[in-house]
């Protein structure tokens, strides 16, 4: 046999990397189930509030909420509270995520750090935030953006830490061996192996974190804050203004969805190497 043929390269051409883009109509069609759920919920809400005048102090009709939306936007109340919450969410993430990354990495890579910190980190997760939030807030100069951000950071911390642990521990040992065989420095191993290998897990943690940060601000604002969407919800409830409560809730929901979508897009960009999903 003089000539051998390659069984693996002969007929295969390089595959395309991105899925074909969908037409607008197809995309609308793909969204239809989610839209149907929204319509269904709205109908249920409408039926529940239609003829129960006795509940008017607890549940607002969709129309009342819609009107309250317009009012609160026009008189600047909603934009102000939203700005405060957005600031608190951002600061909370900026404090909570990096510290979780650092501590998570230490615990994943260092036995001593694991023995020292792991019991407290896990134990702390069982402490209800509602129990310690008042203490935190009084120690951090009273209610305000600073203390609320810290509460948000604490809520974000644990899921992000776990994502870091799982991600860094999941780096295949064969790849670590490869990097050792290539004489890679610790820093090269970190940014060329550990960080990209852990990225899917880190993005998972980040998705959870951004939505939890929103929840964290509401919890934090429950202790005497005077601004923010959480404050708006609590004060509206106090004044028997269910429409105001619902406006706050919807704005929070929209904020969480928006942040989640931002992370999801970043993730799609960063993890383009993953095989395109069918």
């Amino acid at each position: 046999m003089a000539q051998t043929i390659s069984p693996s390269t002969q007929t295969i051409s390089p595959p395309r990397l991105s899925a074909p883009r969908l037409s607008p109509l197809r995309r609308l069609w793909a969204r239809l189930p989610a839209i149907a759920v929204a319509v269904g919920l709205l109908a249920l809400w409408h039926i529940q509030t239609r003829d129960s005048a006795s509940l008017a102090f607890v549940i607002a009709t969709p129309q009342a909420v819609w009107q309250a939306f317009g009012q609160l936007i026009n008189n600047g109340t909603l934009p102000n509270h939203l700005a405060t919450t957005l600031l608190e969410v951002t600061l909370g993430l900026l404090m909570g995520v990096p510290s979780a990354l650092v501590l998570g990495y230490l615990i994943a890579r260092n036995r001593f750090a694991e023995r020292t910190f792991a019991p407290y980190v896990i134990g702390f997760q069982a402490v209800p935030l509602i129990a310690i939030a008042p203490i935190l807030i009084t120690r951090l100069g009273g209610p305000g953006v600073a203390s609320v951000s810290v509460v948000a950071a604490l809520i974000v911390f644990f899921p992000m830490l776990m994502a870091t642990l799982v991600g860094i521990r999941g780096v295949p040992s064969e790849l670590r061996e490869l990097f050792r065989a290539l004489n890679a420095s610790p820093w090269q191993t970190f940014y060329r192996l550990e960080l990209p290998s852990a990225a899917p897990s880190l993005f998972g943690g980040l998705r959870v974190s951004v939505t939890l940060a929103v929840v964290g601000t509401v919890v934090g604002e429950g202790y005497g804050a005077t601004a923010g969407l959480g404050f708006m919800i609590f004060s509206s409830r106090f004044m028997y203004n269910p429409a105001g409560v619902m406006v706050g809730v919807f704005t929070l929901t929209a904020l969480a969805l928006l942040l989640y979508e931002i992370v999801a897009r970043l993730e799609r960009r960063a993890l383009r190497w993953r095989a395109p999903q069918p």
């Binding site: 046999m1 069984p7 390269t9 390089p14 790849l175 290539l182 004489n183 890679a184 993953r274």
Partner: protein
């Protein structure tokens, strides 16, 4: 070229290697064979500088090996490509880690890929490569530093029979062209006889080097040699050394 001097290895109470010594001459193709779990991979890791032996040492060009070095390339059983880098970036990796300028390492990677028939797949991620292509890319990564010695740990063990045969011929061709010194661990007796100038046989654990089989078959090796009486006799002889039940 590469000299293993009375290497001993134990992990706790487990004695793995006992007084193993041999030498690879420049340009030689040597296969290392032995029962499974006998410490072939351990020996290879020691030779690569990835593991410090309990006793003894390994010399490369007269100098003891204490850490991995670019003159000694290693190829694992699995391709171990980084899934988030393109095939080309994977091949470039050893150079990138050594700080070789981008344009230079890109050229080296393109050359290696072209030689291995992977030029069209340079910008594709490893998940899109077949098993044979992935292992060839890993070979490209091992070769891009132009090592004098190539250590291979059952490099074709995970491939299907056809791809395996093709890769064996391709490796022999590459070896003949470049004159590299190759030490290949395998568990296949026929593969050892087909590829090697010399086959080193390790005993079961604790392993020592029992015999060396010289393979006098002509070069270049051809697939049909496998059916010759001479080839069969060599394989039978090797099987006798290992004590494996004949199939």
């Amino acid at each position: 070229m590469l000299r293993v001097e009375s290497v001993w290895q134990r992990f706790g109470a487990l004695e793995v290697l006992q007084d193993v010594h041999f030498e690879l001459r420049a340009g030689e193709f040597v296969c290392l064979i032995g029962p499974s779990g006998c410490g072939k991979t351990t020996l290879l890791r020691i030779a690569a500088g990835l593991l410090k032996p309990s006793a003894g040492r390994v010399l490369f060009a007269g100098q003891p090996i204490t850490a991995p070095r670019p003159e000694i390339g290693i190829l694992f059983q699995q391709p171990n490509l980084l899934p988030y880098l393109s095939t080309r970036a994977n091949v470039e990796l050893p150079l990138a880690l050594r700080g070789v300028p981008r344009s230079e390492r890109r050229r080296a990677a393109q050359d290696a890929l072209a030689q291995l028939g992977l030029a069209d797949f340079a910008e594709v991620y490893p998940s899109q490569l077949s098993g044979g292509m992935a292992q060839r890319a890993a070979l490209g990564r091992a070769l891009v530093q132009n090592p004098a010695v190539l250590l291979m740990d059952e490099p074709f063990g995970a491939l299907d029979a056809m791809t395996r045969e093709y890769m064996q011929l391709e490796l022999l061709d590459l070896w003949a062209r470049t004159g590299k010194t190759i030490l290949m661990v395998t568990h296949s007796l026929t593969e050892a006889v087909f590829m090697a100038d010399r086959v080193l046989v390790l005993t079961a654990r604790p392993s020592r080097l029992s015999v060396t089989l010289e393979v006098p078959l002509a070069r270049p090796r051809r697939l049909e040699m496998v059916h010759s009486a001479e080839f069969g006799a060599l394989v039978a002889q090797l099987r006798g050394y290992i004590g494996a039940p004949s199939a």
